[in-house]
Symmetry: C2
Subunit: 252 residues, 2 copies
């Protein structure tokens, strides 16, 4: 099924020694039967491999719909939403262009499903963090959760961040609401810490935005094949965030 690939220019990542490798398969390529002989296929980025994507799309969706979403993530991340055609998305998984409309109302509908799902999963990832009343530790876990999620799902997260211009007004409003909820979790915890005197924060909104920036900007340069695993990066950034919030060094 995953015989082709979205053709597009190479990735724009050029910093820090993290660069996309060329690859010609997508999605569940790992499950694909190879018929002997050396294959020219290169493994897809790990965050697009079956496992990581399987975590994202709802099990309620038909397999073809999930395959279309995965293919679209790849196309949008390589060519951008506006330069991607519905034919690009379907051809990469061996379907006719019309097959997209069996599952989605439009190319914009595909983008919205990706962006909505990505934002909901990121929100779930930070809401799942344990709050045992120790605000400093809780904020550290929130930041680690945020960073690890964006690193693990960096290609999907990249589409979620960079292709919003492709959404219609109603869908954009829905995503804005999800982002508001996401930021609110972090803002509430930082505000609590400031009130408790655990943190020294001149401006909660600015500091929270900066912490979110650390998590979001990594989708620009992160590679799962790079030096830092999502967990290592998450731990380092949680420490940086707590430093930004002015926690007492002695308490670390």
């Amino acid at each position: 099924m995953f015989a082709g690939a979205c053709r597009g220019p190479a990735s724009g990542r050029i910093g820090g020694g993290h660069r996309n490798v060329a690859w010609s398969g997508i999605g569940m390529v790992a499950n694909r039967k190879r018929r002997g002989g050396p294959s020219k296929s290169v493994a897809p980025p790990a965050d697009l491999a079956a496992g990581a994507v399987g975590e994202l799309w709802s099990d309620d969706l038909p397999e073809a719909a999930r395959a279309l979403l995965t293919s679209a993530v790849l196309c949008f991340s390589r060519k951008g939403f506006h330069a991607t055609t519905t034919r690009d998305i379907t051809a990469a998984i061996g379907l006719s262009p019309g097959a997209l409309y069996v599952h989605f109302p439009s190319k914009e509908g595909v983008l919205f499903e990706i962006v909505r799902t990505g934002h909901e999963r990121a929100l779930e990832a930070i809401r799942a963090q344990r709050d045992d009343g120790d605000t400093r530790a809780y904020v550290g876990r929130l930041v680690a959760g945020l960073v690890a999620w964006h690193a693990r799902h960096h290609t999907v997260a990249r589409v979620c961040q960079y292709e919003l211009a492709g959404l219609g007004p109603e869908h954009r409003a829905a995503v804005r609401e999800l982002r508001r909820r996401f930021t609110a979790v972090l803002r509430s915890a930082v505000t609590r810490g400031a009130r408790e005197g655990v943190f020294d924060v001149p401006d909660v909104n600015r500091s929270v935005r900066a912490i979110v920036s650390l998590g979001i900007d990594l989708v620009r340069w992160y590679s799962i094949e790079g030096a830092d695993s999502p967990e290592v990066l998450a731990g380092y950034y949680a420490d940086l965030a707590l430093r930004m919030l002015g926690t007492d060094a002695a308490a670390r």
Copy 2:
């Protein structure tokens, strides 16, 4: 001359109350003679107005080439490089499509001139910071310079960060070298501070990358019409960066 505008979807920025306003003029619209009656034109984003763009493009370039670059910045930032045609770029400033090739070899050549110039100017902005031997103060000035530049030129900087995939291999290598030099300035200063014991930095590369992320991610959400001027944001982020580097709170 600046009678039209690059038509494209609205900006994707949806966070923090910063959203692009609709506008129909570009570049040196401020200098345009208005012939009475209420104009439907809306002011362009301030970082694309005559002053800020005039700082960027070389005076050695003919006026038409500079107008093409400004138009291209707008088109690329709204529609993306791949979805922008040379006709989009020229039509917005009342030129025929062929006019682009008088000044640039290709659409990719226009993108490279934008990206190269943006990176060179950002590098100049941090190289211009005074180093009086006080490493803490020097790093604060570097971060403030980095942040202020990206805020002031956020639309150009956005193209510099998000449209790199449109560059050919040689041009991408040239940009990579400029980015290496930029990071080296910051890394060198942070390393010096760590050696002096002014900073407490577990991993210089990771910390420098995080500081650069603060500056770069603001091109995604910053609006010159928003609450923070480039200078206010620069000051706040310089403090956050110094906190990340573990400077003694008492020394602040």
